[in-house]
């Protein structure tokens, strides 16, 4: 066996920048490889062509973009029958070996028959003298250690063959039989540390890993330095690196060393997080915590990995232990870190890291900058991102009058006051000491908003602004992402998302401050996507989707209760149609429909007594916000009536496209279902818009707003039109009349989003929503009144005089939707008496109800103020054109809160536990064995696989 056969495998993924040089280096070896095969992991930059040109089309494997390096190599080897004594040489697309490298590696292999893995000395691609790696080791916390100083030049100081713990896969020469024996690279370690894991297992199998310093390769570390986009996982590379590092350590250590390693990792991670926080690098700190959490939260994954690595682990540890980084190295590194931080450089690690994993200043700045902008450019050039950016610009231009105000409010939205803590308190308290007092359940959307506000650092106004003012771009994003599974082509999806986001329902909801509709509008495409997955997904994924759908449906129902019956009917129909075909669909849909009922149970009881309230939504219900006699043509064009709507014909393009889809010969079923949903939605909208509802909280009766049913209807049409859009190119290719027709339909379809955006931007948001709504409660009432004292706020409206009872401040979101308390009638009579000036015991009656103040909201009505001024029982505190305040001459009675409902706290806890449980059951990866599945569920544009170069 004088000349062992060598198979070189070049894996590329968007690496055209380096690939030419790497291939050249592989092909011009002094000792050429016997077989050279290339694997292209779905590159988009022409790498595949470079590979094919150099190696011949027969020697190149094309893999999907979502393939990892390990999987690519495994795939290539699977296609190549093993030859006795064969060596496999792994080459990254950004790794150019020296022309003597392979010869040197083979020579070393010959010298040491026990060596199964050999790696070259790695130097930097740009600065060719700079040393990158001469073998790698790790310490107990999984931190890499190359044993090199930062920016150390190669002067031959490390030359000679050395036993090392691991070598990089870049330029790694590995014996084919050993590779097969240990099972190759672990595909769950999609990126980073798979080399370490492989070498460790090779060592456990009784072989040696050798770094051959006479062999040189130049490595660009493109993925780790973020010179190309990492698509192996949605996670940040830094987090991935930390997670995999800890994972590899814990998977390969023998059991007796494990507890110590575990403890050490947890402590080290916490310390590191604190340090990073001190150094004001919250992103890095977050990654550290997330990596640790990811390990600790998935013990099953670790246990399985450990089971696979059991053979030889204990025995091999004796050898491995010597190669692990010495213990002192951690302290040395900490010292370096602190020192560099003190000297103002930021915590740059001295050794053993991929250079950009913790991007610090001071290294190859220019190159990195070019690279970063390249990344930004690539990110920004993605159609979905462009769409959302464009919609954001449209929204910002249209909402110019609302931005920057101090208090968002108007229409259906009560001026936003208070913070997350106030909302949490309001949601959890058993008795609401607001208005005349109420023991009713707070609307559950308050809890959702409270949670969101907590995320926004307690700023409720920010959360509400993002949800309401950002409804259009958010809806565009959710529509674009949610439909990616069903509509693969990008242009129709762009059209769908833009048209959906700019539907009259959306602009109308923004103009009237309908927070509920805005939230549901964003969620609706997600419902559609999850619903489709429940019906057609693989069983386990369908079940998970069902839990997620149930949770999101509960959220939507909390904001707009009408969503639930609308969706439930569709869901039941779908189960009737599909239930027989697929196993488990009935149960899954049952889960999705039962979760909202169970989670929202305490609040939903209120609807039993007054079912009409189902038609209302979060916020105030006012006659001025609806069209009391909505025209048929408006209903058929998805225009829900009320302020802030474009002309009804603006959706004509959408309807025309959907009608044209009816003429297609193929996909008749989809078209029929789409139209069915649309007609169903319109019918529901007609019925809803004809019903008059008086809100339980009091106020004028008004017709319900059909925004959500119309959004349902429009979604049906949009999806069917976008699904049939892939026929357009075929029709265009057919030429003649068909081509003209296809082009015409596409052009007409695009008029809807363009006209809607143009109209919205040109006219702005025209509705009662204001960026700075005045605080209706006079400042003096806030300052002077004591806890528990009530204020009757009066205002003259077009319909007469309205009043509400407040406590010291503007009501919180949701507080104004609590059912009116029993004392309202008495307050109304007594306050009317005060306004009429009939004398008598009206003031005493008010005082008996705990009222201490009567306030007049601005602009002050002169007649009302005159009447109140003339009242002998009222002492004027202040009166101006913007507000008036009077104190009752007699002291207010103290109102005792009724005893709390003993069931309230248990129900609340139960609700919280349920939500948590459902969220866990819906979480991706919670019950999946393999990471591949988990990745597929990450709701980000799926990113898989970089191959090569780390």
């Amino acid at each position: 066996m004088t000349r062992p056969p060598v198979t070189a495998i070049v894996v590329t993924h968007d690496g055209a920048r380096w690939l030419g040089e790497s291939l050249q280096a592989v092909l011009t070896q002094t000792r050429p490889a016997d077989r050279v095969v290339g694997v292209d992991n779905g590159s988009r930059d022409g790498s595949a062509d470079v590979l094919r040109d150099a190696l011949g089309a027969g020697n190149v494997l094309a893999m999907p973009r979502s393939t990892g390096f390990g999987a690519a190599v495994a795939e290539a080897l699977g296609k190549l029958p093993a030859v006795p004594g064969e060596w496999v040489w792994l080459v990254h697309d950004d790794c150019a070996p020296d022309r003597h490298a392979l010869a040197a590696l083979l020579a070393a292999a010959k010298r040491d028959p026990r060596a199964a893995v050999l790696g070259p000395k790695l130097r930097d691609w740009l600065d060719r003298r700079l040393l990158l790696e001469v073998g790698v080791t790790v310490d107990g916390t999984g931190r890499r250690d190359t044993g090199l100083e930062a920016r150390e030049f190669d002067q031959g100081q490390y030359d000679g063959d050395r036993d090392v713990l691991a070598v990089s896969t870049a330029g790694m020469l590995v014996r084919r039989d050993v590779w097969d024996e240990v099972g190759g690279l672990d595909p769950t370690l999609a990126l980073f540390r798979d080399d370490l894991d492989l070498c460790w297992r090779v060592r456990n199998a009784g072989h040696r890993v050798v770094n051959v310093r006479s062999a040189v390769a130049w490595h660009a570390e493109a993925a780790a330095r973020r010179r190309r986009r990492i698509t192996a996982s949605g996670d940040h590379p830094r987090r991935l690196d930390r997670r995999n590092a800890m994972f590899v350590i814990m998977a390969n250590l023998p059991f007796r060393a494990l507890p110590w390693a575990l403890l050490r990792n947890v402590v080290a991670s916490v310390l590191r997080t604190l340090l990073l926080l001190l150094a004001k690098q919250p992103a890095n700190a977050y990654d550290e915590v997330a990596a640790l959490g990811s390990i600790l939260l998935h013990p099953g994954r670790l246990i399985r990995a450990r089971r696979r690595r059991r053979p030889g682990r204990k025995k091999g540890y004796a050898a491995v232990r010597k190669l692990l980084a010495p213990r002192g190295i951690a302290y040395r590194r900490l010292a370096d870190l602190v020192q560099s931080f003190l000297s103002g450089e930021g915590p740059v690690e001295s050794a053993g890291r991929h250079h950009a994993v913790l991007a610090g200043p001071g290294e190859a700045d220019e190159v990195l900058l070019v690279d970063e902008s390249g990344f930004v450019k690539r990110f920004l050039s993605r159609p979905g991102v462009l769409l959302v950016l464009a919609l954001t610009v449209v929204a910002l231009v249209a909402e110019r009058s609302l931005l920057g105000g101090e208090r968002l409010g108007g229409g259906a939205l009560v001026p936003v006051e208070g913070g997350a803590a106030d909302l949490w308190r309001f949601y959890t308290e058993p008795f609401h000491d607001t208005g005349l007092g109420s023991a009713a359940w707070a609307p559950p959307y308050v809890a959702v908003l409270a949670g969101l506000s907590t995320v926004f650092l307690g700023k409720t106004w920010l959360a509400v602004s993002v949800l309401l003012l950002g409804a259009v771009p958010l809806a565009g994003m959710s529509a674009y992402l949610a439909t990616r599974a069903i509509i693969p082509a990008v242009p129709p999806r762009i059209w769908l998302a833009a048209t959906y986001a700019l539907l009259p329902v959306a602009t109308g909801a923004v103009a009237s401050g309908r927070l509920g509709t805005a939230v549901v509008f964003v969620l609706l495409p997600v419902y559609a996507a999850l619903g489709i997955r429940v019906l057609s997904g693989e069983r386990r994924r369908a079940r998970r989707a069902a839990w997620g759908l149930g949770l999101l449906l509960a959220v939507g129902t909390a904001f707009v209760p009408l969503v639930y019956p609308l969706f439930a009917l569709l869901g039941v129909l779908a189960v009737v149609a599909f239930g027989g075909v697929r196993r488990g669909v009935v149960v899954s849909m049952g889960i999705a429909l039962a979760v909202p009922l169970v989670v929202l149970f305490p609040w939903l009881q209120g609807f039993v007594a007054d079912p009409g309230q189902v038609l209302l939504e979060a916020g105030l219900h006012q006659p001025s916000l609806v069209d009391s006699a909505l025209a048929p043509e408006a209903l058929l064009t998805f225009s829900p009536g009320g302020p802030g709507l474009p002309p009804f014909w603006i959706t004509a393009g959408l309807i025309a496209a959907a009608l044209a889809a009816l003429l297609m010969r193929r996909q008749r079923m989809i078209v029929a279902i789409g139209w069915g949903v649309a007609l169903y939605g319109v019918l529901a909208a007609i019925l809803v818009s004809r019903v008059t509802v008086t809100p339980l909280a009091g106020g004028q009766a008004a017709r319900a707003w059909p925004g959500v049913p119309l959004a349902f209807a429009a979604t049906g049409l949009l999806v069917l039109a976008a699904l049939t859009a892939h026929r357009l190119p075929e029709l265009r290719a057919a030429g003649g009349l068909r081509k003209a027709g296809a082009m015409g339909v596409a052009a007409v379809a695009f008029t809807t989003p363009l006209l809607a955006a143009g109209h919205w931007m040109a006219f702005g948001v025209q509705g009662p929503l204001r960026g700075s709504a005045p605080d209706p409660v006079p400042a003096l009432a806030v300052v002077e009144s004591r806890a528990g004292e009530r204020t009757v706020l009066l205002r003259r409206t077009a319909e007469g005089i309205g009043f509400t009872v407040l406590r010291r401040r503007t009501p919180l979101l949701g507080e104004s939707e609590l059912p009116a308390a029993g004392g309202v009638r008495e307050v109304a009579t007594a306050a009317a008496g005060l306004v009429a000036g009939r004398g008598g015991a009206d003031a005493a009656k008010l005082a008996g109800l705990g009222v201490a103040y009567v306030a007049l909201a601005g602009p002050v009505d002169p007649e009302l103020s005159k009447a109140l001024v003339a009242q002998p029982d009222l002492v004027q505190v202040s009166l101006s054109e913007t507000s008036g305040l009077w104190r009752l001459a007699m002291p207010p009675a103290r109102i005792q809160a009724p005893p709390a409902d003993p069931l309230h706290a248990p129900l609340l806890w139960g609700q919280a536990a349920l939500v948590l449980l459902v969220a866990l059951l819906a979480a991706p990866g919670s019950r999946t064995a393999d990471a591949a599945d988990a990745h597929a569920d990450v709701p980000v544009i799926a990113g898989p696989q970089p191959a090569g170069a780390r």
Binding site: L683, R795, G800, V827
Partner: protein
């Protein structure tokens, strides 16, 4: 079904039919556009009233109540009968009662400097009171301020003379404690004014305000409260007969006013020749002599202006020995009106504007059964005199039946020495109140 779905035009047809059906359903169910009903206020009885008679010493106080009434410290049953008594105490007199209440006091002096008939309505404390009449250089004018509330009142007196706004420090920040009163001779505030409009506003608390003008032998009377500045002012109750009639118009704002003046007399409504408009510089009072324009007829004046104005009329008796009377801008008789202190020679001067009107008049004598009420019909834009016949002192209750009616009560007594006269516009009675319907609505927090 499947075949239908598969056929190219079957589905189109189906969808179009469904769309048509939906259009039909939407069209059929479309309600007629209707404005939400505006809740109309209800007329309810007043439950309690407290009025202040400014300075009744030596005068006869007349009280007509609908329930138990307290006059000063004495409790009287004012239910339906007129209570009348001469008061000896100095200072203001508080009259309060459960239910509606009307009170007034007056005096008849036939000799001396104070010769004349005078009378005033006891008013409820208010935050703003406007009075229009002669100034200190033409008469002795005393302003009576009384605080009958439990909270202190801080008052500011705005003075407008023929020459413009009168600014004095003494007129601001006047503090009157609960239960106290203050009489201010306007000579101390605006000594040189011949005509004066006085606005008393409080920044805290309420005051009962009245003013008495004594023209140094040429008559004496109280100034009736005028409606606050408005762009349309009606001054009713100008009696028929000889003597001088002067219209005073003040523009308290910061803009000059051009006021159109229309007289509504027994013969009809007309603009008086040469007196169609009066120009009032901002912050001043203009005088327009209407003696020849009215030509001795009973009348009401309708003033319209772009700028809010207040107005009043000085009525002088004929002959050598004169008496004086005042009337001022007043609200229509929508809630009815009552005058408590009437006697021999009392009559009503009623004017219907904006179409014909009619009122019921009920006389309530201090003794005996009240006579039957009678209805007075008023032609459109005409003024009518209604003689009130009763024995002894009586109260008169005027209730609107239809139309928009303004009115005044005039009492004139012809003596050998000359005519004694007093006048008073019919102010809204404190018997009824308009109770609005209040809707409890959280939307009130939104503008």
């Amino acid at each position: 079904m499947k075949a239908f779905v598969e056929s190219r035009f079957g589905l189109v047809l189906l969808v179009l039919i469904a769309l048509g059906a939906l259009y039909g359903v939407a069209h059929m169910t479309r309600p007629a556009p209707a404005r939400p009903p505006v809740a109309q206020p209800r007329k309810v009885a007043v439950e309690s009233v407290r009025t202040v008679c400014p300075a009744p010493r030596g005068d006869k106080v007349s009280v007509l109540g609908t329930g138990p009434t307290k006059v000063g410290s004495a409790t009287v049953d004012g239910r339906g009968t007129l209570w009348r008594k001469t008061v000896k105490d100095t200072g203001p007199l508080v009259v309060s009662g459960a239910g509606g209440l009307e009170a007034g006091h007056g005096a008849r002096v036939t000799k001396g400097d104070e010769r004349g008939l005078s009378g005033v309505r006891c008013t409820e404390p208010a935050a703003t009171t406007w009075l229009v009449g002669p100034g200190p250089s033409a008469a002795k004018v005393v302003l009576h301020l009384a605080n009958a509330d439990s909270a202190p009142a801080v008052a500011e007196i705005l003075l407008y003379s023929g020459e413009g706004t009168v600014a004095t420090d003494a007129a601001t920040g006047i503090v009157i404690k609960p239960g106290e009163h203050r009489d201010i001779d306007l000579k101390t505030l605006a000594p040189s004014a011949t005509v004066l409009a006085v606005g008393v506003t409080t920044t805290g608390g309420r005051l009962a305000v009245a003013a008495r003008a004594s023209l140094d032998g040429r008559g004496v009377d109280w100034l009736p409260a005028s409606t606050p500045p408005a762009t349309r002012v009606v001054v009713p109750g100008i009696p028929a007969g000889g003597g001088r009639r002067d219209l005073l118009v003040a523009a308290p704002g910061e803009t000059d006013a051009v006021v159109r003046v229309q007289a509504v007399t027994e013969d009809g409504a007309y603009a008086m020749k040469g007196r169609e408009t009066v120009e009032v510089p901002a912050g001043s009072v203009a005088v327009l002599e209407l003696t020849s324009g009215l030509d001795g007829q009973a009348a009401a004046l309708v003033l319209t202006s772009e700028v809010p104005v207040v107005a009043g009329v000085i009525i002088a008796g004929p002959g050598e020995r004169q008496d004086v009377a005042f009337t001022a801008g007043t609200a229509p008789l929508d809630l009815g009106s009552t005058v408590a202190d009437n006697g021999k020679g009392s009559k009503l001067v009623l004017t219907a504007l904006n179409g014909p009107g009619s009122v019921r008049v009920q006389i309530m004598p201090d003794k005996g059964k009240p006579p039957a009420a009678f209805t007075v019909d008023l032609p459109a834009s005409r003024t009518r005199n209604v003689k009130l016949k009763a024995k002894g002192p009586f109260a008169v209750v005027v209730t609107p039946v239809s139309g928009q009616v303004y009115g005044g009560r005039v009492t004139a007594e012809r003596l050998k020495s000359g005519l004694l006269i007093t006048a008073r516009p019919l102010a809204p009675a404190r018997t009824w109140a308009m109770l609005p319907t209040l809707t409890g609505s959280p939307a009130v927090v939104l503008p």
